[in-house]
Subunit: 214 residues, 2 copies
Amino acid sequence: MPRPRSLTPSRIADAALAVLDAEGHGALSMRAVAARLGMGTMSLYRYVEDRSALEELVVERILEPVDLTAPDGAWRHRLLELSERVRRAVAAHPAAIPLAIAHRQSSPTLLRWTETVLDVLTAAGLTGHARAAALRALLAHLIGALELAHGAPLQGEGTRRLSALPPADFPLLTATARDAAAISPEEEFRLGLELLLNGLAAAHLGETPETGEK
Amino acid sequence: MPRPRSLTPSRIADAALAVLDAEGHGALSMRAVAARLGMGTMSLYRYVEDRSALEELVVERILEPVDLTAPDGAWRHRLLELSERVRRAVAAHPAAIPLAIAHRQSSPTLLRWTETVLDVLTAAGLTGHARAAALRALLAHLIGALELAHGAPLQGEGTRRLSALPPADFPLLTATARDAAAISPEEEFRLGLELLLNGLAAAHLGETPETGEK
DNA sequence: GCCGTAGGCGTACGACGCACGCTTACCTCC
DNA sequence: GGAGGTAAGCGTGCGTCGTACGCCTACGGC
């Protein structure tokens, strides 16, 4: 009977993501999002509990395009594909990477995704502690790779600064920085993940690891 | 000839770390650190460029106890030990984990540490892209594991919330959350790292992986 | 003992998140 | 068609933050 709502969670998430993409991670504020929606700051609070809830909305929006159906193929390929889907979705919005990491536990999409990953691990023969440890290792790689891509992309300023160090003091570091500049984020992610999966295969499942070379 | 300085970077780092350890990550502010040092807020700026420089001081202090000498033994063991040293130093101050991750690129200690790690990788037979990829994979695991330990320690509230989900919707997730609660952070870190190292051994170096079971 | 340097810091400004309470648009029922 | 009640929209203000600016003053060297 009263006045109808004029905003949806989806529109709010879009506005916040637009702020993030356009002005960077430091520019996300209740005021900025409200302004982009054409409302007063405090009106936002009719739709969102607090800033943290806004951030959760953004994270859920970012993860929305992640396909949650289990891929076909060998378990190694299925895990590679599932992980890559999340990486790709998050990496599409670099300014939101810290948010995605911070709010990972409250995302329904990520919960479902985790259940699917556990399904694959179980089908591959893992249970109990080994399965838990494998999941955490996969998560650690995912989060760590995203964090690395955020703060120090291989082609970015960080790598350049490393290669500018005195080669006499850091011969390997400067050489490696140059090598690393030629690796794309996707390739970096896949190579590291393959190490993990080969280790999983070798240590627990007795399969022959793939070589990991293209 | 003028008035002597009354503070050292080291004392400032100690004060900031004390604030962090005592009041948590959200309590670190220029005012809080200055107060703990018994000075006015603005006096701090005589010793520190800005807040970011203060944080770098803290990170460097945290990493100071890391032993940078190369351990003995097989390369797998040496990498395990080097990684564990950094993990242990950072995990000793949970409230500072995000700072350590954010400022990893400006820490002289970590630069030296990275050079040592590259030394081990090189001695193990890796060069070029493979070496760069292996380093990034190790870093991703280190950062990801620290981030996981920070936001959702296996024994913490996050895991408890996961096991409280409806088992009908998330049968594997709830079961795994229970399994995971029995794993210590050190063990989690070591298990994941061993997967990585076994993968490295299997894929690139033709060695027989260790089983990873205690 | 004087003087210049640099240490110490009070004040103030523009952000931020958000509590509170007012005004007002809308829908429903007579 | 008018009245009433519900919740939308938002202005004001508080306490926090980082930090620019400029004053006062303690100190050490001549």
